[in-house]
Amino acid sequence: MDFSSIAFANSLILGLSIASIFFVAALGLTIIYGTAGVINMAHGEFIMLGAYTVYALQTFVGIPYFLCIPAAFFVVGAIGFAIEKSLIRYLYDRPLDTLLATWGVSLVLIQGTRLIFGSDPKYVQIPSFLSTNVEAGGLSLGAFRIFIILMALGLAAAVWFIFYRTDFGIKVRAVTQNREMAASFGINAGQVYSFTFALGAGLAGVAGALFGALNIVLPTMGAGYVVEAFLTVVTGGGALMGSAISSFAIGELQSIFALITNSTFAQFLIFVVIIVFLRFRPQGLISASGKRR
């Protein structure tokens, strides 16, 4: 391979990594939006809570990083469950109010975190073998980025399994398609929503556990990721497959644009592409089936 084709191949590989970050950020939002129809403005803060969970467990308890990731899932999932039980479930019939309520929740979570941990930045430690670079014939990618790609694949497979191969998944899909009909068949729709919301929050927690190592851990760190997540979900249409395809496309395009121009202009181009796309396909790539309440 000549020089520029190596650079191009490297940017394709990097695009895969950016795509996996977008996908992991969007996964929890996809589930909550695609299933319950709740536009969760607090999604970025769930990601932030995941990062803080890892920070707290590492600093105060001394748990190794790999155990912190599932811990973040359960801690943030539990917080999501509590929020759903105490607030969101009263608002399912009022989509606009869930928007405001979850935004309020996000403010509470930011300030609460600031009160507990302070507003100075924290960081997440990762094992040193993840802080290396893997190279092969001129191609290279950081080990941690490879780890995120693997995590993205793993999470996608797990979510697919839950939704399409378990009883819970059948109930979720039934409730998504027609809540009243599902309820008349004895499915506890409220409970299904609660666990779905908790699952989405937990996945955001995992995302936070990963991003905390890549970035800075701050009470306001969620704001950046929630934009990525919404872009992915809206472009994808709310379905799992849609999010996977749209994050792949966005990641690759951003990487290639950044190679040809620069990072700032690449971001601008991405927004333009998405706006033009949504002009012609406002429902997104693969719109979630079934009727909305």
């Binding site: 940017s11 970050i21 100075d120 930045p121 290396t132 670079n133 290279s140 800075i216 990072s263």
Partner: protein, 434 residues
């Protein structure tokens, strides 16, 4: 004309419209100025963000300002009057900055404002400060290219900042350099200066990349760096992005030994935030480091960290510059009170008195500095520090003498900044250049 209700209203409306300029617009800019009363506290505004994206490091600026004011008040205040800070949270929102600056001047009648970390917020409040002829102490580094009659700056200008850093890096690591910066005015102007120093040092610029402010994806930039293979990197990335940059730099397999990052912003607070292992081996140019060994700095570090304001656990260049601005204010106030009397002190007279104010090595933690009498920026000694494995810095080079601030160093055609305005080469004077 019969005096009817309607006519009366019409006539009085016309009359008041005609009279309005005389009533509402004072004859001089100083007519809004705060006045001091003997025995009453001296009010100053402290306008930084305590929340939002700029809270790091602006929260530290607020804390160190409170510490400095407490210290001054404990030592008897200014001519017997204590300083009373009016602390505002600007919420990292530029419209809040300008709104609150107006409130501070008109409602709280502060004699000066200490505030802002970014050039964007400074430019947001300067029109208001200039309109009311108040005074802004801007306590951090910036790009220059401004000449107002209402600011005093205690941090390094672009021409002071990288002057020693670039030649030092070229000499020790090689000629080839890659510029990375955040995408806004300060990095771009700083890089214009850096290019001049680079040319003088015989260096070669391989590439220049800017990242959106606050963005955390450095993959594409790191790929370009890998391809260009520079000898070192010159960074003007700020804030949260800077921390992400250093972390991803190491995670992408680069090492500080082979390709160090020479930064203008990565100080003690950033290395603490990213984890010291990610900062170790990289370089910073600043007039102040926590590790400076002098009695004033030791007193400052110990005093601050053990005070209620020292909760974040570090001191850094931005804090030292903010701390110094409080003492410049104190010295200027005392001079203005001596010259004009306590009741006659205005913001403009404080500004005037700032000219040439010298902070001795017994006051300034970074060593002796003084305010330039022409452009009201600060003469200081830039130092280069290398981050150690514990996140603190060791000083590897210190300029032999003070470097003069020159806000228009890269725009010689614009003229030079004097106390009465920007004097162009043809002799014409422009005021309020921002």
């Amino acid at each position: 004309m019969k005096l009817s209700r309607r006519n009366f209203l019409k006539n009085s409306a016309v009359a008041s419209a005609l009279a309005a300029p005389g009533i509402w617009i004072p004859q001089s800019r100083g007519a809004w100025g705060a006045t001091l009363t003997k025995g009453e506290p001296i009010k100053v505004g402290v306008l930084f963000s305590l929340t939002g994206g700029l809270a790091v490091p602006e929260e530290d600026s607020t804390l160190v300002m409170q510490y400095a004011i407490d210290e001054i008040n404990a030592a008897g205040g200014i001519a017997g009057s204590p300083i009373e800070p009016v602390i505002i949270d600007a919420k990292s929102d530029f419209s809040v900055y300008s709104e609150k600056a107006r409130e501070l001047i008109l409602r709280d009648k502060v004699i000066s404002i200490f505030g802002c970390y970014t050039s964007a917020s400074r430019k947001a409040i300067l029109p208001i400060v200039m309109q009311r002829d108040n005074l802004l102490f801007y306590p951090t580094c910036y790009e220059g290219a401004e000449c107002t009659q209402n600011t005093v700056c205690t941090g390094p200008l672009a021409n002071q900042h990288s002057k020693d850093l670039i030649p030092y890096m070229v000499e020790n690591f090689g000629k080839k350099v890659f510029f990375v910066g955040s995408n806004y005015v300060w990095p771009k102007e700083s890089n214009k200066n850096a290019k001049i120093w680079l040319k003088n040092a015989g260096g070669e610029l391989l590439g220049e990349e800017y990242i959106p402010l606050g963005d955390s994806e450095f993959g594409p930039v790191l790929n370009k760096i890998r391809e260009a293979q520079p000898d070192f990197i010159f960074s003007t990335v700020v804030g949260a992005s800077d921390i992400a940059f250093h972390r991803q730099f190491k995670q992408a397999g680069f090492s500080a030994e082979d390709m160090p990052i020479a930064s203008l912003t990565t100080g003690e607070i950033e290395t603490k935030a990213m984890g010291a292992e990610f900062g170790a081996g990289h370089f910073l140019s600043a007039p102040y480091f926590q590790a400076l060994e002098n009695p004033t700095n030791e007193k400052f570090v110990d005093g601050f960290l053990s005070s209620p304001y020292g909760k974040n656990g570090a001191t850094h260049y931005n804090m030292a510059e903010t701390y110094n601005s409080a003492y410049v204010f104190k010295a200027a106030m005392e001079k203005a009170i001596e010259n004009h009397g306590f009741d006659e002190v205005t913001s403009a007279r404080v500004r005037e008195a700032c000219a040439g104010v010298k902070l001795g090595a017994d006051v300034s933690p970074e060593g002796e500095t003084w305010v330039d009498g022409d452009n009201f920026n600060t003469w200081l000694v830039p130092k280069i520090g290398r981050c150690k494995s514990d996140g603190s810095f060791e000083i590897v080079k210190q300029a032999d003498e003070h470097v003069a601030p020159d806000p228009f160093s890269i725009y010689p055609d614009a003229g030079s900044c004097k106390s009465n305005g920007l004097v162009a080469p043809d002799g014409s004077v422009r005021v309020d250049v921002i």
